[in-house]
């Protein structure tokens, strides 16, 4: 029980149980305290994480579960999951505090958040494909409750749409998981659900259906699930609805963490497990990502609703990450991982800001605002700062990720990078239009004159977010340095031929005795 | 002789069956059924299974049909003006389905191979059967007794007139 990773999952769950028994007010405080402890745990993991230990996962926990199928409760952390773990643990107290003002069924909301916390941590930490899937899907449940119960007027529609669309993708992934699982059994005579070991499956190159090989089908099934979650261009329509309807805390988590599960999945599964198929399809995915970058920005530009605008901006930003992943160069890879965190901070912050405004005015229509800089200067300050982060002004975090992604992408695919760079311009367009509509100009609407500036709680949240936004902009090395060796290994294993990679690096199974194929 | 009897009783059976299906009043269906059962028991005799033939008369004709007749009388159903078969389309569809269904069954019976086809008949008299029932098939037989117990209680439940009595009254 001294495994830190386990506690990152257990703690919120236990707290959820405790919160169910406590009075509402106490339970809120307990929940926040628990998530803060969770954050500290994550920091401790960050501290104990050894960048130079190149061999796969660290702090591994493996408890046999369904022994018949060799399914384990297995957790581990590596350079891919560490930043996301930190992000999810960091965002959680913020989301809880952002929802502080919600009074109806506050205890249940708190419990939902805590359960979500556990599920998200589990998703990022699971090294067993079955466990991963469980957490992956489990995330949906608290999330649809958060959207559906505490959301705005169209919340039920949005919740159902969110659930069904994302569920649709993950079910096909489930089939692919089965397929991998049975193939491994067919090839090695034993079962394994260990993600790393599944990478040893050798795929036949014969087409099985419609001219695609088994590996490609597996890839497509995985990619569909992840691309819906990201969301990639034509699969994105659930996102604006979900974001718009969700309460502030829900939007923050949705944008900051849930979308990252998609890109994380691409990195964790699609690239290592089905490398050839990835090589074949990554141009298509990248092109969709590029379309998403541009298209998301265009549509964001047209939105009347502030949250919808931020939601579409997410489509655009996540496009960068996807392109970075598809480019598969070490710089782009680091950039993509870092950008996941960055987007979480900046978009989370934007949702927080929109939520603050919504609390005061009960509308998100951009045309209702205007001139707020005069009325609520501190709010305006944070809005400008976080918007800058969102549109990638250098010196703030958004730039570092985008820059690395584009830089890396340009090394392998100059054309992609060239198209993607246009997103930088469009991002400025819609962000500035939003800023103009909200804080600049004269105060046209009488109601805006009585809007109160941010209170200490909100100021604290925004301050913390801004602090990290600046921190990661100025000193991203504190994170990049921690994950760099791990990502370099990842890159060398997954780019080009694997044989040379395995010469350079010790084989994966030499550290974890059980990881490799067993006879 | 046996052939002639077989054909005669066979036709009788089928006519009885037909009567059940086409009779306008339920009571005529019941009587047709008696004819069919009678024909059947004759066929059983021809097959050499006297015990079954006896059972057929005793149980089917003697008990079941009487039960039917009793219920029909009890319910005092009026004679229907036409055959109560629903729409013509339904009849045709059902007819076609049944025709095809029986065609398949029949051809299966024709072509299928029986596990033994010695062209002889061995009398299966009561002694053999009752011996089997009380040795090899004792367990099913006991289950049957429980089944009948369940049946009695069940029919009691069904047939008891509306009692306003709640369980905890």
């Amino acid at each position: 029980m001294d495994n830190l990773l386990l506690w990152t999952i257990l703690l919120p769950l236990l707290t959820a149980v405790v919160c169910a028994l406590l009075p509402v007010k106490v339970s809120k405080i307990v929940a926040v305290a628990s998530t803060v402890v969770g954050l500290l745990l994550a920091c401790l993991i960050y501290e104990r994480f050894i960048p130079e230990a190149l061999n796969g996962f660290q702090m591994v926990l493996r408890v046999p579960w369904i022994t018949r199928y060799q399914i384990n409760f297995a957790l581990g952390v590596d350079g891919l999951s560490l930043p996301l773990l930190l992000l999810s643990k960091f965002i959680m107290p913020i989301a809880l505090l952002a929802s502080w003002g919600i009074t109806n069924h506050a205890r249940v909301l708190t419990i939902c958040f805590l359960v979500l916390d556990a599920a998200m941590a589990g998703t990022f930490l699971a090294t067993d494909i079955f466990l991963f899937y469980i957490f992956w899907e489990f995330v949906l449940i608290p999330m649809i409750l958060i959207i559906g119960v505490w959301g705005s007027s169209e919340r039920i529609y949005a919740a159902l749409k969110f659930f069904l669309v994302t569920f649709a993708g993950s079910l096909l992934m489930l089939v692919a998981i089965f397929w991998l699982y049975t193939s491994y059994h067919a090839q090695f005579g034993t079962y394994t659900a260990d993600i790393a070991s599944l990478g040893y499956i050798k795929f036949s190159t014969d087409p099985v259906l419609w001219g695609l090989t088994a590996q490609e089908w597996v890839f497509l099934a995985f990619a569909l699930a992840f691309c819906i979650k990201v969301p990639l261009f034509p699969l994105h329509t659930w996102l604006p609805d979900a974001h718009t309807q969700a309460p502030t805390g829900g939007s923050i988590i949705l944008a900051a963490v849930l979308l990252k599960m998609g890109t994380y999945g691409l990195l964790r599964f699609c690239v290592p497990l089905t490398p050839d198929a990835f090589a074949r399809f990554s141009p298509i995915i990248a092109v969709l990502g590029l379309v998403g970058i541009v298209y998301g920005a265009w549509v964001a530009f047209q939105q009347e609703d502030a949250k919808r605008m931020v939601a579409y901006s997410s489509v655009s930003h996540l496009g960068f990450i996807v392109v970075g992943i598809c480019a598969l160069s070490p710089e782009a890879l680091s950039g993509a991982v870092l950008q996941m965190v960055n987007h979480g901070l900046s978009t989370g912050g934007l949702f927080l800001l929109v939520g603050i405004l919504y609390d005061r005015r009960h509308t998100r229509k951009l045309s209702e605002f205007g001139g707020l800089a005069k009325v609520i200067p501190w709010y305006a300050f944070f809005l400008v700062l976080i918007s800058c982060s969102s549109m990638g002004v250098p010196g703030l975090n958004g730039f570092v990720g985008e820059f690395l992604i584009l830089l890396g992408t340009f090394q392998t695919h100059p054309l992609w990078a060239t198209v993607a760079v246009s997103g930088v311009v469009f991002a400025a367009v819609y962000t500035l239009v939003m800023l103009r509509a909200v804080i600049w100009g004269p105060v046209k609407n009488e109601e805006n004159l009585s809007v109160k500036d941010i209170n200490p709680r909100e100021a604290f949240l925004l301050g913390v977010l801004s602090l990290f936004i600046v921190w990661l902009g100025v000193a991203p090395q504190s994170l990049l340095g921690k994950i760099k060796p791990s990502l370099d290994v990842y890159w060398s294993q997954n780019s080009g031929n694997r044989e040379t990679a395995s010469v350079i690096l010790p084989p994966r199974d030499s550290v974890e005795g059980e990881a490799g194929p067993r006879e | 002789m046996r052939d002639g009897l077989f054909i005669a009783f066979g036709i009788l059976t089928i006519l009885g069956g037909l009567g059940v299906v086409v009779a306008r009043h339920a009571i005529f269906s019941a009587f047709s059924m008696v004819i069919a059962f009678f024909g059947l028991s004759a066929l059983y005799v021809l097959w050499g299974s006297n015990f079954i033939a006896m059972l057929q008369i005793l149980i089917y004709t003697g008990a079941i049909v009487v039960l039917f007749v009793f219920v029909v009388m009890l319910l005092d159903l009026k004679k229907e003006s036409s055959l109560d078969t629903g729409s013509g389309l339904a009849v045709m569809l059902s007819g076609a389905t049944v025709w095809f269904f029986s065609l398949l069954i029949l051809r299966a019976m024709n072509r299928g191979s029986y596990f033994a086809s010695e062209k002889v008949l061995v009398s299966q008299d009561m002694r053999v059967i009752s011996h089997l029932l009380f040795t090899k098939y004792l367990w099913p037989f006991e289950i049957l007794s429980l089944f009948l117990l369940a049946l009695i209680i069940g029919v009691c439940v069904l047939a008891r007139p509306d009692s306003k009595e709640g369980p905890h009254k």
Binding site: K161, L164, P234, V299, A417, T418, G441, A475, L480 | G86
Partner: protein, 630 residues
């Protein structure tokens, strides 16, 4: 000493934070005092660094880790060499003066802390821009100044037009920035490094570089520079940027930020050296921008607009210099231009301040009586910008014109266009001068000279405008050595003089003649106020309207780019997104239809249900026995 380099950036940054987030003083003098102090501290620091450089002659550099990813390693690297020295001194020096001026100018503001915070932030970013030792670090400053420019243009945000002007500036800059980024990527792809020293070194030594890619890099960086330095086609933001407070226009949109493009090209001169085509393009772009902007400036009535177009025009001339390889001449002009244009803007600011916001020069006139000091300093500045010897502008402009003629990549056309631009400059500046200071006062407001805070900076700048040219004397005059060129020679490649039909002295004479012609013509027309000018305007009505409408470039952009873009966005949002949504949800609708159909099958009549069961059994039976009995 290296920490001092970071100090250059951090001091104004701290000033900005102190003003903007901590103190938030509503007193202009407090806020301005802090900001000015920071700025002055920077200037002193820069001065001491410069002295140190003069003593040792070696550049100073410092670095802190920033990011690393795979093989890519990037530091917060700063480098203080001769080029930086010039820029830093100009920025901090003029910046301090303008801070000072601002205290007087912004005396009636409600939130001066915001203004001064932005101004300090700008200073910090601008210093980072010139100190950065690699393209990305430069880019941080580059975007930082863009952001500050956005914030300062839209400083009076309650006027939505001003907010719009800020947005326009930012977006147009962003277009250039996108190209800049591409340039960075190409450089990394080619050099596997993004620091200037390494890239320059590799350009000189390595043979594995692709010239085509290097040209592309140069082109991209040049496009980036056109955005920041307001060249064709990305120049339209600068005149609009005049919506900001006048000191801002002086500092950002005349003296420092807009010259960042020049600085960038000079800094990456090694790339442009190997890309003659791009250089040529740059020269012509600059020349035509100079001419084009000058024509517009001829007829403008807004005091700041005239100066803005003049700035665009002058920047164009600098690009001509860069294009023909005369980097040091360009930088020289950057410096002198910083003095006289800042002076002009501040003078304009003083006048506007004195006239309570009046900006139309047709409503001024005869102000020399009311603003004697401003008049005096403006005279120097106008003389300088017109290129009258021995004022600073004369030397720098002359250097550029001569380079355009005599450089290997220069030609007569270039020279001709540039000279024509100079002619027009002399004309419209004289018009500007005459209409403001001479004739009768045509306005309503009560004019008054400003406080000492307003004119002291003017005085200092006037001194600069008058004498700064002396540090870069042309060889041809054989009076003083070219200190400026010598200083920059370790950093910037020199241009080779080729034989042209005019020598240096000849070109100089022509330039003076041209200036005199421009001044003379203007004097003839505007000597007696606006009358003659209006007659001319009526005579050449179509041309006049075209120029007054700024060649309708804004409208052209609106029509060809902005409107189609908006339509595209609307189409994406209203049509495509809707269509995708419907398509994605189509299976759900289909399922509902299926559900309804199946409910209808469940009619409730037991025999229909039974029939379905029989049918199912039949199909099974048939399937099981197919081939055997049927």
């Amino acid at each position: 000493m290296q920490v001092v380099l970071f100090g250059l950036i951090l001091i104004p940054l701290l000033g900005a934070i102190l003003n903007g987030l901590v103190l938030r003083s509503k007193h202009t003098r407090v806020a301005g005092g802090i900001a000015t102090a920071c700025s002055a501290a920077c200037f002193l620091l820069a001065l001491s660094l410069s002295l140190n450089y003069f003593e040792t002659g070696t550049p100073l550099s410092a670095a802190l880790p920033w990011m690393s990813a795979g093989p890519f390693v990037l530091n917060w690297g700063l480098r203080f060499d001769a080029l930086t020295l010039v820029m830093t001194l100009v920025i901090t020096g003029i910046g301090t003066l303008i801070h000072l001026f601002s205290i007087g100018y912004m005396d009636e503001e409600k939130s001066p802390y915001r203004y001064f915070a932005y101004l300090n932030l700008f200073l910090s970013a601008m210093l980072l821009l010139v100190l950065g030792d690699s393209l990305p670090v430069l880019f941080v400053g580059w975007e930082g100044v863009g952001l500050c420019s956005y914030l300062l243009i839209g400083y009076w945000y309650e006027d939505i037009d001003k907010a719009n002007a800020g947005m326009k500036a930012f977006v147009m800059n962003r277009i250039g920035d996108a190209a800049f980024l591409l340039g960075v990527f190409i450089c990394y792809q080619q050099f596997k490094s993004v620091t200037f020293t390494e890239m320059a070194h590799l350009t000189a030594t390595s043979n594995s570089l692709s010239v085509w890619w290097l040209e592309m890099a140069a082109l991209c960086l040049f496009v980036g520079a056109t955005g920041k330095s307001a060249q064709i086609p990305l120049f339209t933001w600068l005149p609009d940027a005049m919506a900001g407070p006048t000191p801002v226009s002086a500092l950002i949109h005349a003296a420092t930020m807009v010259t960042a493009g020049i600085y960038l090209v000079a800094r990456t001169a090694f790339l442009f050296q190997v890309s003659p085509d791009v250089s040529q393009w740059m020269a012509y772009t600059g020349a035509f921008t100079a001419l084009f902007a000058a024509t517009i400036a001829l007829v403008q009535k807004d005091i700041k607009k005239i100066l803005a177009y003049s700035t665009v025009s002058q920047l164009g001339l600098m690009f001509v210099a860069l294009g023909v390889g005369a980097y040091s001449a360009a930088l020289f002009h950057v410096m002198t231009h910083a003095f006289f244009k800042a002076l002009l803007f501040l003078a304009a600011g003083a006048i506007i301040h004195g006239l309570h916001g009046e900006q139309d020069i047709f409503k001024m006139g005869g102000l020399r009586k009311h603003f004697p000091l401003t008049f005096l300093f403006s005279s120097i500045a106008v003389a300088a910008i017109c290129g009258l010897p021995p004022f600073s502008g004369f030397f720098s402009k002359d250097a550029i014109l001569f380079a355009a003629l005599a450089s290997p990549t220069g030609d007569v056309l270039l020279w001709g266009v540039a000279s024509l631009a100079s002619l027009l400059t002399a004309f419209y500046m004289t018009r500007f001068y005459l209409l403001i200071f001479f004739g009768d006062y045509r306005g309503e407001a009560h004019p008054h000279e400003g406080s000492a805070l307003l004119w002291i900076p003017l005085a200092v700048l006037a001194v600069g405008s008058a004498f700064a040219g002396l540090v870069g004397m042309p060889h041809g005059l054989h009076m003083l050595p070219d200190y400026f060129g010598q200083l920059l020679s370790p950093v910037l490649p020199a241009w080779q003089e080729t034989h042209a039909f005019l020598g240096e002295i000849g070109a100089m004479s022509v330039a003076v003649a041209v200036a005199a012609l421009g001044i003379g013509t203007a004097f003839v027309i505007y000597r007696k106020g606006t009358g003659t000018g209006e007659k001319l305007a009526r005579a050449f009505s179509p041309l006049y309207k075209l120029l007054l409408g700024k060649w309708y470039i804004d409208e052209l952009y609106e029509l060809t780019i902005v409107l189609p873009f908006k339509a595209l966005c609307r189409f994406s949002s209203r049509i495509i997104d809707r269509a995708i949504d419907v398509t994605v949800l189509f299976p759900a609708r289909l399922a509902r239809v299926g559900g309804t159909a199946l409910s209808l099958v469940q009619v409730g009549a037991v025999q229909v249900h039974l029939w379905i069961m029989v049918l199912g059994g039949l199909v099974l039976l048939w399937w099981a026995l197919r081939g055997l009995v049927v």
